[in-house]
């Protein structure tokens, strides 16, 4: 990339320094444009997708009036929100009330810059990319708390406080399970994590969702749903209790910012899951299909990569929507208890087991047996089997802690009067 640009500028006759500066601004502008476009389009599409999926699982048709198949419904809603009156009450803290949506909105969109959609289409390739992602995603909570406080509304306050406590609880298992990934990959660079997964060469089986303990992924998944405040963890905006939680008082464009940011963070988290656990932009068969077929056109490769990661991301989004349609909401004490008593110990155990697994991988001169057409280390398989048994035992142990009789004793009685 850089060479192309510098060569281009050399041809024109500009000094290389100027070329770099211009290239930087051009790239930044292009990136911003692409990101915001991708983000907005993704969010707009996701809102529609959510409404459609929720409609289909309840045997309805969903939005179908605005545009073909209701495609423009969200646009219409957005336009409505744009032109809606922005109500602000005199008792509200104006600064915090205005700042909150921005603080909530901005970080969630910045995460897009760190997601490698292809190996080239990547906003910033940070060495500590994973860390930066979690730093950003926890920043959004500040926006929620500010919204809860600045609204001067009791429901909002409860919602904001709930979001704070929820974020504190669920970021720990989230980060701990991501840490296991970083440990296995040996890097915090997100692109490197993707490449490491592909370097295993087993395709699907070298993805961290499978090659690393699947438990890691499950913990990450649950925590990420809690992180983006979706059912069953949508306590900050539990509409049956807190009306609308932290955004009760918001209307118009400020509300739209909250609304967009929620979906954007869902997209970000789903993309992160695809990247960390599902091989990112690589196909499930190892490498790229077009590459394996011998088509050697870079653009085609880039397109295929983008297709894979977008597909994986949307599968997780669809799953989150299906969960939303099925599950009831947890209570705050259950939410906390689930995190502190169950997920955090489990993720610590998991981290420990992944460390053992990593050590097993690092062993050399170990006999191998052929499996799936590859030579797989016996040590690896043995560790894996042992850890799986350990996991079952751990789950059973947790189960006995929370054991309670599930089947109620309802008796049917025939009355005799």
């Amino acid at each position: 990339m850089e060479n192309i640009i510098s060569n281009l500028f050399k041809m024109i006759g500009l000094p290389t320094e100027v070329a770099y500066i211009l290239a930087f601004f051009a790239a930044a502008g292009l990136l911003f444009f692409v990101l915001s476009l991708v983000g907005q389009v993704a969010v707009v599409f996701m809102v529609l997708m959510e409404r459609k999926i929720l409609a289909w699982i309840t045997q309805r048709k969903g939005p179908n009036r605005v545009g073909p198949w209701g495609l423009l419904q969200t646009v219409a809603d957005g336009v409505k929100l744009l032109f809606k009156e922005d109500i602000m009450m005199p008792h509200q803290d104006k600064l915090l009330f205005t700042l909150a949506p921005v603080l909530f909105f901005a970080p969630t969109f910045v995460i897009y810059a760190l997601i490698p959609f292809t190996d080239q289409l990547l906003g910033i390739n940070l060495g500590l990319g994973l860390l930066f992602v979690f730093a950003l995603s926890s920043l959004g909570v500040v926006g929620m708390v500010l919204a809860g406080w600045g609204s001067n509304n009791k429901y909002s306050l409860l919602g904001g406080m709930r979001s704070a406590s929820q974020a504190i609880s669920y970021e720990i298992p989230l980060v701990l399970s991501a840490l296991a990934v970083a440990l296995a990959a040996g890097s915090l660079n997100i692109r490197e994590i993707v490449e490491t997964q592909n370097a295993g060469g087993f395709g699907l089986f070298s993805w961290y969702a499978i090659s690393l303990l699947p438990l890691t992924f499950v913990i990450f998944w649950i925590s990420s749903i809690a992180e983006v405040n979706r059912i069953p963890f949508d306590l900050p905006e539990a509409e049956s209790e807190l009306v609308s939680g932290y955004n009760t008082e918001y209307s118009g464009m400020k509300f739209a910012l909250f609304f967009l940011a929620e979906y954007a963070s869902l997209f970000g988290m789903s993309a992160l899951m695809a990247v960390l656990f599902f091989g990112g932009y690589y196909s499930p068969f190892g490498g790229l299909i077009t590459q394996n077929l011998g088509i050697d056109i870079p653009v085609v490769h880039q397109l295929e990569m983008a297709t894979w990661i977008i597909t994986k991301t949307y599968i997780f989004i669809a799953l989150a929507m299906l969960i939303r349609g099925t599950l009831p909401r947890l209570k705050p004490d259950q939410l906390m208890g689930f995190s502190w008593k169950f997920l955090i110990p489990l993720s610590l155990v998991n981290l420990f087991m992944v460390a053992i697994l990593k050590m097993a991988w690092l062993q050399e001169n170990i006999p191998t047996i052929p499996l799936f057409g590859r030579e797989i280390s016996v040590c690896y398989l043995g560790t894996y089997a042992a850890l799986f048994l350990l996991l079952i035992a751990t789950l059973a142990g947790f189960g006995s802690i929370f054991k309670r009789k599930v089947v109620p004793h309802i008796q049917l009685q025939q009355r005799t009067v």
Partner: protein, 159 residues
Amino acid sequence: MTDNKVLSGIVEIGRGMATVGKHLFRPPVTLEYPEVMPELSKRFHGRLCLLTKSSGEDLCIGCQACARVCPCGDLIQIEMHRDDKKQPVIDRFTIDIGRCIFCGNCTEVCPVDCIKMLNDFELADYSREALVLDKSGLSLSGEESDKYRKEHGLEPHVE
């Protein structure tokens, strides 16, 4: 293992999601209303109307029975006089549909089966005054009345 709460919980959540997911492949049960009208039953309590004789003359005899059983007060207003042959002539018959609760009491007490309910339920209008229907707005024509009587199994009108 069966009473393990964690494992059974995972299984049950999976079962629930599968049941919900199954509905993805079922056809929708909702109607696209303005294009597809719902099928209403014959007894549907819709807009009130006045049946007429086959010739198109008023069937109503102005007995005020419907007005008197109406739970909404002075919703039905009837003014009538008798002509020289002592036959009732309806001067004014108005129904304020905007206040009607569609209970069907009036249709039940009508001695001549004149006031009836149609399947028409789209009654919205831009002003309250427009919802006060007078005799011309309420009355069906002679053919429509005959059709209504035939469809609903009423005795055909005989002079």
